[in-house]
């Protein structure tokens, strides 16, 4: 038990609903085909849940949730997924992000397109979430101590 000055209402409810917001963000990423949404919006919702935890329990305790130092590397990883798939399709002789040219032999073009878009959306989502959290951390600059 750590000594803590924040109101229990905010801490308890914030930690209670943060997982649900994360799941909602993942849902938006995975269902970009059917409705509004996709990588960017889902990533923003994911970032919102991380920021909620940071606001509720303070900078120090939220390191257990999403580390400050993870922001930039995970953002780069997400961008790398996006560009990796794009460059692979270019290497196979097509345009950037021409999903039907992904190098899997026995999969139909429409399936390739579906999963290609999905993986790219996930990459964008991770990149957006991590970058937004990194921007928030950079803006707070360690000035906030809970």
């Amino acid at each position: 038990m750590t000594h803590f000055s924040e109101s229990p209402i905010i801490v308890v409810v914030g930690r209670l609903i943060a997982p649900f917001i994360q799941l909602f963000g993942l849902y938006v990423i995975f269902h970009g085909h059917y409705g509004p949404g996709g990588g960017f919006q889902g990533g923003a919702m994911l970032a919102a849940s991380f920021l909620l935890i940071r606001l509720c329990v303070g900078e120090e305790a939220s390191q257990m949730h999403f580390k400050r130092s993870l922001g930039a590397p995970v953002g780069i990883l997400g961008a790398a997924v996006f560009f990796g798939i794009g460059l692979v399709t270019m290497g196979a002789g097509g345009y950037f992000l021409d999903y039907s040219l992904l190098p899997f032999e026995d999969v139909s073009a429409s399936k390739l397109r579906f999963f290609g878009i999905l993986v790219v959306e996930i990459g964008i989502g991770i990149a957006v979430a991590a970058t937004l959290v990194a921007i928030f951390d950079e803006l707070m600059g360690g000035a906030d101590n809970g």
Partner: protein, 89 residues
């Protein structure tokens, strides 16, 4: 039924304007934030009603949920900012 919903949506669009008085007039920053929060929660309902009228509720309800989440977090963030502002000053 559709007509009734359209009338209520128009009514809500008028209701949303009223808290703007608080946002513009103040007198304190917290009054302004309160007004913004009140407008946000009403917007959530308005989005749902518009989705109903267009018959695409499953799409608009996602937008409304995202809006509710962002509204809640923004109010918390502003409250947090003014709490720590005094500590620093």
């Amino acid at each position: 039924m559709q007509d009734v919903l359209i009338y209520i949506t128009n009514l809500l669009a008028v209701i949303i304007i009223i808290p703007f008085y608080r946002v513009l007039k103040g007198p304190t920053v917290f009054d302004r934030v309160l007004g913004v929060g009140a407008i946000g929660t009403k917007t959530l309902v308005l989005i749902c009603l518009v989705g109903f009228i267009y018959g695409r509720l499953e799409m608009f309800i996602d937008i409304a949920l995202a809006y509710a989440v962002l509204n809640f977090i923004s109010v918390l963030a502003i409250a947090k900012y003014f709490k720590s502002y005094r500590k620093g000053a």
